[in-house]
């Protein structure tokens, strides 16, 4: 996966000529991450572990895509499963109904979902906070309802079989390996997009919206257009993640595609890892994804996983709303315990300004 790693790693040193210790450590960490991802399929002892790896990478794609809107703007979407589910269905239906090439169908599906996200964004982003969340949940519920009952088109609650993009001569473990790398590439693209937006004018505007939307608007940030851009970009990547997963998994069921729980996982992963950092959602996906898989294999698919997810989400919201990475950083830096969101990000902004001035 060198094509994915090089653009992420390369521009970092060019930002300023002097490599500091922190930057060297950052690049070393990034290289280590890339190495782990590249080597994982050959290190995985059996196909099951490899498939868990695919699931975790898929979660990482979804969480990182979620963070494109959640992290930048602070607008929490609990219904991002709507976009991943639509991505899956769009991909599958394009292959089944039009006979489109699977990979073209995947990309076309992503674009279609991005188009769908536009009216949703227009309706939910004009007013602040509450209505966005309400619409996001309502969207998942309505999609679950319609996809379950619209038998002729979506296969209804009986589900939909997705044709496999690779022939039958490609065996299961080989399938897992290919999809593992495909997910890794998609994750790299999503991370790269996040990284590019973060240092753009758009990113600055979005973060200003997150900190204080009124002030951002007063300073001339086109808040509505920026928020909509973030949502549509996020929906696009989420749909690609959902579509790729559908191609791998080979089966779609409205109950699981438009599940409130999947949307919750995305939020939980991003919050746990930290919505303000590039790799936060990835870290959260590894931790939560692994925990979910272990929990399922230990206790089966009981109602207890709902309780565990709920309790964990509640604890994160109450005690670590900025995520584990910021919580640990602030612990290490021995900052005042009362440091609020505002102070941390003001510091970040000051640092960025300093770096830019250098």
């Amino acid at each position: 996966m060198p094509n994915a790693s090089s653009p992420t790693a390369a521009p970092a040193p060019t930002r300023s000529g002097r490599p500091t210790a922190a930057r060297v450590a950052r690049i070393a960490g990034l290289l280590a991450l890339v190495a782990v991802v590249l080597l994982f399929p050959s290190l995985a002892p059996d196909p099951f572990i490899l498939s868990v790896g695919v699931v975790i990478l898929s979660y990482a794609v979804l969480a990182t895509s979620w963070n494109l809107v959640g992290g930048f703007t602070g607008y929490i979407s609990l219904g991002h499963a709507a976009y991943s589910g639509l991505g899956g269905y769009a991909t599958a239906l394009l292959i089944l109904r039009t006979g489109l090439d699977p990979w073209l169908a995947l990309i076309a599906g992503g674009l279609i979902v991005a188009l769908i996200a536009i009216p949703v964004g227009i309706a939910s982003l004009r007013v602040r906070g509450a209505s966005f969340v309400i619409v996001s949940i309502a969207l998942v519920l309505i999609l679950q309802l319609t996809f379950q009952s619209w038998h002729d088109f979506t296969g209804g609650s009986g589900g939909l079989r997705v044709p496999r993009p690779f022939g039958t001569e490609v065996l299961r473990p080989e399938q897992h390996e290919r999809f593992f790398y495909l997910h890794a590439v998609l994750l790299a693209l999503a991370l790269l997009t996040w990284w590019a937006i973060e240092r753009s004018r758009l990113g600055a505007g979005l973060k200003a919206i997150r900190e204080d939307e009124d002030k951002a608007q007063a300073l001339g940030v086109p808040t509505f257009a920026y928020k909509l851009t973030a949502l549509v970009t996020s929906a696009f990547f989420t749909a690609l993640g959902g579509g790729l997963y559908a191609l791998w998994f080979g089966y779609l069921d409205p109950i699981f595609q438009f599940s409130i729980l999947v949307g919750t996982y995305m939020v939980l992963m991003s919050l746990l890892g930290g919505v303000r950092s590039l790799f936060g959602p990835l870290l959260g996906a590894v931790v939560v994804g692994y925990a979910v898989e272990v929990f399922k294999s230990q206790y089966g698919d009981t109602q207890l996983h709902l309780v565990a997810t709920g309790v964990l989400l509640g604890l994160v919201v109450l005690f670590m709303p900025d995520g584990v990475i910021p919580a640990l950083t602030s612990f290490v830096n021995r900052r005042r315990r009362a440091a609020s969101i505002r102070e941390v990000s003001a510091e970040e902004l000051a640092n960025q300004r300093e770096e830019a001035a250098r």
Binding site: A123, A130, S131, V133, I134, I142, L145, Q303, G310, L313
Partner: protein
């Protein structure tokens, strides 16, 4: 659609709308006093329904009697939830974080319900479950009538509390302008806690009414929270009369559409109304200045 069928649907819609109105009033109460979108409202609704069912199963008494236990219990739980959980959140990100927190509570309740009473569908069987009375060619199930009466009485009581008592005045003041309310000596924290308790008490009453007439299962609350959230947005966030009017209108609309479209598609009317409201009048149709700022 024949006249008789129309009348029948209309009556059923009004009866259902009454229940929606009570529950939406609770939901809008939380938003008014705390700017909190309480996702767990319908999870508590289902919890109350389960408690009513369990009460009936174990004691053999009428599930309506479980109100004596659940209403005070939910009131205390609501008060505690506001004072010990919601008030801990940072004011700056309260609206979004409270959604996540109450969402987490909803998941926990759903999981616990499924764990304790399994995912099996439950239904209260009563002597009068099947009886219905006929008025002018329209037959109405007695249980639906009881549910509606319960909702109407509770809504009336809520209205009296909010309009006639000094606590109600304090609560409305807190809703309208928390700072000014504090300046005139209202303990807004305590009022917000009590407001939360009142809101959750509506869930207890609604849940008991629900248990009389519906088959219940743990994940049922998702079918309620969507329409309820749509109702409070259409009615204008924070406005109780708005919520009640929107609940009745949408309840009737859903009930009328059920005849030509079927139950599932009729449900979409709530989401359609939500979408249209946000597109053309985001602050809601019946009052609700609050939505513009939040």
């Amino acid at each position: 659609m024949t006249g008789a069928l129309f009348a029948q649907s209309l009556v059923l819609g009004v009866l259902l709308g009454g229940l929606y109105a009570l529950l939406a009033a609770g939901l809008t109460l939380y938003f008014g006093v705390m700017r909190v979108v309480m996702i767990a409202h319908s999870a508590f609704l289902i919890l109350a329904a389960y408690l009513a069912w369990y009460f009936h199963e174990t004691s053999g008494l009428d599930p309506l009697l479980s109100l004596v236990i659940t209403v005070p219990l939910f009131f205390v739980v609501g008060y505690g939830m506001q004072r010990f959980l919601v008030s801990r959140l940072r004011p700056i990100s309260l609206t979004t974080m409270s959604v996540l927190l109450t969402f987490a509570i909803a998941l926990t309740i759903e999981g616990l319900l499924g764990f304790v009473w399994t995912g099996t569908q439950r239904r209260v069987q009563l002597g009068y479950s099947g009886t219905s009375i006929e008025v002018a060619g329209v037959s109405i199930a007695v249980v639906k009538l009881i549910a509606f009466a319960l909702a109407a009485i509770s809504l009336g009581a809520l209205f009296v509390i909010l309009r006639k008592t000094s606590f109600g005045r304090a609560l409305r003041a807190t809703t309208q302008h928390p700072e000014a309310a504090r300046l005139v000596g209202i303990d807004t924290d305590r009022v917000a806690g009590l407001g939360f308790g009142l809101g959750l008490a509506t869930a207890a009453i609604g849940g008991t009414a629900l248990a009389l007439d519906y088959t219940i299962y743990p994940s049922l609350h998702w079918h309620w929270i969507g329409p309820l959230m749509a109702i409070i947005v259409v009615g204008g966030l924070g406005s109780i009369p708005g919520a009640a009017i929107a609940a009745l209108l949408l309840g009737v609309a859903a009930s009328l559409l059920q005849v030509p479209l079927g139950t599932t598609w009729a449900q979409t009317v709530f989401y359609l109304a939500l979408f249209v409201t946000l597109m053309i009048r985001p602050q809601g149709f019946f009052g609700g200045r609050l939505a513009q700022r939040f």
